[in-house]
Symmetry: C2
Subunit: 147 residues, 2 copies
Amino acid sequence: MQTPKQLSEVVREWAEVFMHRSGRDFKRFMDTTGLSFSQVNILMRLLHGGSAGVSEIGEKIGVTNAAASQAIDRMVQMGLIVRTEDPQDRRAKRLELAPKGRDLIEKGIKARIKWIEDVTNSLTLEQQEMIISALTLLTEAARTTED
Amino acid sequence: MQTPKQLSEVVREWAEVFMHRSGRDFKRFMDTTGLSFSQVNILMRLLHGGSAGVSEIGEKIGVTNAAASQAIDRMVQMGLIVRTEDPQDRRAKRLELAPKGRDLIEKGIKARIKWIEDVTNSLTLEQQEMIISALTLLTEAARTTED
DNA sequence: GAATATATTCAAGCCCGCTTAACTAGTTAA
DNA sequence: TTAACTAGTTAAGCGGGCTTGAATATATTC
């Protein structure tokens, strides 16, 4: 067994547990907020990538511009997203998270990972330190290769 | 800054990156397989928890028994799930992943985490070892507190 | 064994997100 | 300044997953 193979195996098992457990929480989040799968995806993208245009978002989440426009419009009316005209190109709109939207999606993420905190609380400080180092490393590495 | 606070912060950032990146792949997986959000959830649950009954699954993924029954039936016809009568209670059905279904959902998971492998490949062996240890720890801890 | 409860399925209909196609407005270029 | 192109919105309609309520079959209880 080589290290790379072990690593991919470990990642796979971790992902399996993670996806399994966050699935139900994700559904509950959609139900309680009244947001669709695509809408949550949009909020996540805005949280992570800052501002963006309508068609850019549609392309990223895999729907038509029309669908993206509709999904966004609903969230603008809910006060989750701020839609302003792009001063450079007045055809285009610039979309950003409103404070309310940022708060909502961050709360959603927190709810989906709360069980991890519960799990890590039962570990020793040394183990927690190791996990901090490892996840920091992973996060930073991931951010250097953004899409 | 206490260690617990750092840890939760690190976990939150990691989760944010993870969810952001797997969102698009998840959508693509649904589109290419023709499966709904609930159906993927069901496959994930069967992969993780072994066999289960219809209403048990409905409850776990947050829909009515009727909805679960329908979603499952479609996947039985697709050959993804095996539905057999429970010998103990012939009213009940026992659902299990068919080999085809197991294969499909495992491929889906792999596709959703491929970017992690790409990311970790650029790390040193020592760093990889640390990540292996940390994720193994997390996975095992999570499994001791199953829902 | 009659009544009640449980597990699942069936049937009808609703709701909502998505797509296509048309439309508006603004930009670019000849 | 006209034509072609781009960004976004709007409108109409479709499809599919969901819910409710009834139906079927088996278990349990008295």
